[in-house]
């Protein structure tokens, strides 16, 4: 048994006086496909930023491939973890391929330009998400679904082991949502561990084997859809009545939770 690709050990984090994560401990195995759910403002994005090293935890330790995040160098970390942000606002008319090429930055030195290997990786990243035909289009002209795929291509060009996605299905129509989830599954099958913050619980229940639900108390629940998407838990997490939640609950009689706090 190898070490989990990602491990939280008593991780706490707060924004000012507001505690978002309270002594969180969990492990994510290689090649897992994990959905991160929870109400708005509960700390999903924060958690992704903690994992990608953009924010340091207030206390506790995050281990990536068994090594504390603090011990990873600034350039090595993005070769293992790729964060696909929610929005990308680009002020100039960069073209798709120029943007995807930025995913190679962690593999390049300051004075050495792009190598043939860099070009190959950019090509295969664009192929993997099927945006080769868009390579010369300015990013600003793309549709929501196309933008999402470009952002994922940047992440793929990083050649990561772990990909974090912040609301990848937001603003997408049903068709594009299904395509996107299928894409994530393909990437997952290629060996990339995936953690995606997703709002749509139906999408989560049908497509993600593991779920982490963040609670506003704060706390968290991790397990399968059957274990996590239960009425009393959803009620606590999203503070709505049980009847209104009806259709989101999976099966009320599961074997129990892996971790509840």
């Amino acid at each position: 048994m190898t070490a989990p690709v990602l491990e939280f050990r008593n991780v706490s984090f707060s924004y000012g006086p507001r505690l978002l994560l309270d002594r969180m401990s969990l492990g994510i195995e290689t090649r897992e496909m994990v959905a991160l759910v929870g109400p708005n403002g509960v700390g999903k994005t924060t958690m992704l930023k903690l994992i990608s090293g953009l924010l340091p935890p207030a206390s506790g330790e995050i281990l990536l491939q068994g090594k504390p995040l603090a011990a990873w160098s600034r350039r090595h970390l993005p070769r293992t973890v790729a964060l696909v942000p929610q929005e990308l606002e680009i002020p100039f008319n960069f073209r798709v391929e120029e943007i995807v090429a930025q995913g190679r930055v962690p593999h390049q030195t300051l004075f050495g330009g792009a190598t043939p290997a860099d070009h190959r990786e950019v090509e295969s990243a664009m192929e993997a998400v099927d945006i080769v035909g868009l390579r010369h289009r300015p990013y600003s002209e793309l549709s929501g679904g196309e933008r999402q795929r470009v952002k994922i291509a940047i992440g793929l060009a990083q050649q990561p082991k772990l990909m974090l996605l912040d609301e990848p299905t937001q603003h997408l129509d049903v068709g594009r949502q299904i395509e996107l989830i299928a894409l994530l599954r393909r990437l997952n099958q290629r060996g990339i561990t995936i953690i995606a913050a997703v709002h749509d619980l139906n999408l989560v229940a049908e497509n993600f084997a593991s779920i982490i639900m963040l609670m506003p108390t704060p706390g968290w629940i991790a397990g399968s859809a059957a274990e996590v998407l239960r009425p009393e838990l959803l009620q606590r997490a999203f503070s709505v009545s049980q009847s209104a939640l009806g259709r989101y609950c999976v099966s009320p009689d599961s074997e129990g939770l892996t971790q509840v706090r």
Binding site: S52, G53, R95
Partner: protein, 377 residues
């Protein structure tokens, strides 16, 4: 910017055909192994070559133009045999050429600074004049001229060092005023730059009014405030030219990081870019270039906005590809502008800064309108 937005599929025939035979984009794609030579953007190498030739022509032509008109062959002969040039040589080497080279250096420096600052602020309107750093450099220089004229630091006059400090300090001030929530709102950035620039210029005017000021100092300040190019000494040029050259070369690796920064500061950090270092390096290089430009020509506005803007239409926004053409194009542009400014209404000379304001102001307003309309959509 419209043209490149709309025509990724069918390259503009006229430009394209001259560069390579008419090939359909798809076959060209296969032939170049996926490299992007096929699109409607001109290759950087071609552009640099064209701009270099244009710069050389501009230098020769501008050196010939003036109260005493010299033919191109006279100018070239003087360049080749300076000792045998006689009266023409006197005019060329004492008056015209230093001024033309000053214009080239100022244009290159301002335009390259524009590229760097636009990348840093992620805003195509960022220009050393608009951001107020030119004003900071001028005030710093004024302090140097009047308060401590005798001070010299490692071969640099106090004026140059203080102009650099003035630019850096202004940049820091504008930075902290305009930054909110990890980003720069365009309105705040422009307002902060404008107000600080105006205040600093007012400070420079105060120095200009001081009665005990020496006459030569007064003349320098008046020229700075109007954006009037001086005729530098050869030793001044020998100091400033390498400085500008080195700053631009050092800007090249930095420009690559500015490309990443275009995706957002946090995202760039996620990609392993040390955003803080990029910031500091950009401010230092930009301030060096601004100080160099201001010490030769004072407050010449909008060059750093106009030149990069037009080049972006030709070759796209990639800062690495943009920097050298911007420097070359800026040099040529300011030589032409200054030659126009000193000959068009002869014997009256208008300051080149006035001329660039007439050209750059409308361009600025166009971009501003364009940008705010975009953000409203």
């Amino acid at each position: 910017m419209e043209a490149e937005l709309k025509a990724p599929v069918k390259p503009k025939a006229t430009v394209e055909r001259t560069l390579q035979p008419a090939v359909s984009p798809r076959t060209a794609l296969a032939a170049t192994g996926g490299q992007s030579k096929l699109d409607n953007r001109i290759s950087t190498r071609t552009l640099n070559l064209v701009l270099l030739v244009a710069l050389a022509l501009a230098i020769v032509a501008a050196t010939g133009l003036g109260a005493v008109r010299l033919s191109i062959s006279e100018v070239l002969r003087a360049f080749l045999h300076p000792s045998r040039a006689g009266d023409a040589g006197e005019i060329i080497f004492q008056l015209r050429l230093p001024r033309v080279l000053a214009a080239a250096l100022v244009g290159a420096a301002l335009s390259a600074t524009g590229v760097l600052f636009q990348g840093l602020f992620r805003n195509p309107l960022a220009d050393p004049f608009v951001l107020g750093t030119s004003g900071g450099a001028a005030l710093g220089g004024a302090v140097g001229i009047f308060l401590i004229p005798s001070l010299s630091f490692a071969g640099f006059g106090a004026t140059a060092v203080l102009a650099f400090c003035g630019s850096v300090l202004t940049m820091i001030l504008v930075w902290y005023l305009a930054r909110a929530g990890g980003r720069f709102a365009m309105e705040t950035l422009l307002l902060a730059g404008f107000v600080i620039g105006t205040m600093l210029n007012a400070g420079t005017v105060v120095f200009e009014m001081r009665e005990e000021a020496s006459n030569s100092g007064l003349r320098v300040l008046a020229a700075w405030l109007h954006g009037q190019l001086s005729i530098p000494t050869w030793s001044q040029l020998a100091l400033i030219a390498p400085l500008v050259g080195i700053a631009i070369v050092l800007g090249l690796p930095l420009a690559g990081r500015l490309n990443t920064l275009a995706l957002g500061e946090e995202y760039a950090a996620q990609l392993g870019v040390s955003v803080a270092r990029v910031r500091v390096a950009t401010v230092i290089l930009g301030s060096l270039l601004t100080a160099a430009a201001v010490s030769l020509g004072g407050l010449i506005g909008f060059v750093g906005l106009l030149v990069p803007h037009f080049l972006r239409i030709l070759i796209g926004p990639n800062h690495v590809r943009l920097l050298l053409p911007a420097a070359l194009g800026g040099a040529t542009f300011l030589i032409l502008a200054d030659t126009f400014a000193r000959t068009a209404f002869a014997p009256t000379e208008i300051p080149v800064g006035v001329f660039t304001a007439f050209l750059g102001g409308p361009a600025f307003l166009y971009l501003l309108n364009h940008r705010s309309r975009e953000s409203r959509q």
